[in-house]
Symmetry: C2
Subunit: 210 residues, 2 copies
């Protein structure tokens, strides 16, 4: 056994751990983390309740692990959008499409973040806040390199980045709630999101000549 291939024992342990995370995420679609029980999770996975302790200290610990998992995929999506080189209008269209696609692909992850961002478990709230702050920093860094940000203070760029990140989370959870409501409602949400981004983009363009 070398460092890149895990032994059979480690591999099996990882598998069980992932099964616990998957089961937790699934159960969290219909409740909050602070009411999710350890026995519920192990029952779904099909292991003894006590096995849980081989992987997590308690449910809050599992929640923090879910934060990392949930935001990793979002991170990839955001990077892709930021990397694009196109005019403002096109970036807006692509961003809204990317958010819609992300929600369709990872609804449980998005729901978990929206639900627990202000939820009842401190450790999880803090993990989400820290991660979203890193997102904001990353967006700010990308914005700073763009021509429209010439002459902006670092604080102003960060403020705009925060507005974008908040808008992203809002739009994602709007798509999520519309999940069952049909394509009509989804189009309405996408349309509103695009117009809001256009308005913000306009404000950005005129920021210098206030």
């Amino acid at each position: 056994m070398n460092s890149s291939t895990l032994g059979v024992r480690q591999a099996q342990k990882q598998k069980t751990r992932q099964a616990l995370l998957d089961a937790g995420l699934r159960l969290l679609e219909e409740q909050s983390l602070s009411s999710l029980g350890l026995r519920e999770v192990t029952r779904v996975v099909g292991v003894a309740p006590a096995a849980f302790y081989r992987h997590f200290r308690d449910m809050a610990d599992l929640g923090v692990a879910l934060v990392e998992e949930s935001l990793a995929s979002l991170h990839v999506m955001i990077r892709a959008v930021l990397a694009e080189q196109a005019d403002a209008e096109e970036v807006i269209d692509r961003s809204v499409e990317a958010v819609a696609a992300h929600v369709a692909l990872h609804p449980a992850h998005v729901r978990f973040i929206a639900r627990e961002r202000h939820g009842g478990v401190r450790a999880v709230r803090e993990a989400i806040a820290a991660e979203l702050e890193r997102f904001g920093d990353e967006v700010a860094q990308a914005l700073a390199t763009q021509e429209e940000s010439h002459g902006w203070s670092a604080e102003d760029v960060r403020m705009l980045a925060g507005l974008y990140v908040d808008h992203l989370v809002m739009t994602a959870s709007a798509f999520l709630e519309a999940g069952g409501a049909g394509a009509e409602e989804e189009r309405r949400i996408a349309d509103t999101a695009r117009r809001q981004l256009r308005l913000i983009s306009l404000g950005r363009r005129h920021w210098r000549d206030r």
Copy 2:
């Protein structure tokens, strides 16, 4: 006994009901509605568990009642801000001050709304969504009468109103989380909120000449 003064019995019942709501709100500062127990609430109030059923069907029912209570005070605050006649910069300053004051005065109400807006109890989520939509409509109505909205479509005005309402909720919960972090952090949040509102206001001013 006439219709305006309740009998002793009715008055006592109201008092107990309010005590249950107050206790629930207090207990929800450290957990989510979906994990709050009926017995916890009655224990704090000092009544028998079974007494709960004289007032609410279950905890979700109590939650819906808390939504109405929590948003009533916010409604009053928003109306006051909207009624103001002043230049944009002044309205922004007053709005952010009003939000900060509201959070300082009703922290538990704000926390409840932020937490349960995307929480695990459907009936409560829906009650909050419906109420925030009414807020949006009201803000839109106020915006429509302003000079800057001349030539705007109703849809565009409603889109802007939605942006303001979302920003309000975001800012309120940011103030809340900063609650214990000192005046420094609060000033930073107020400053960011003001700049974001200024940028949105700029976008609004240039919306027509896109």
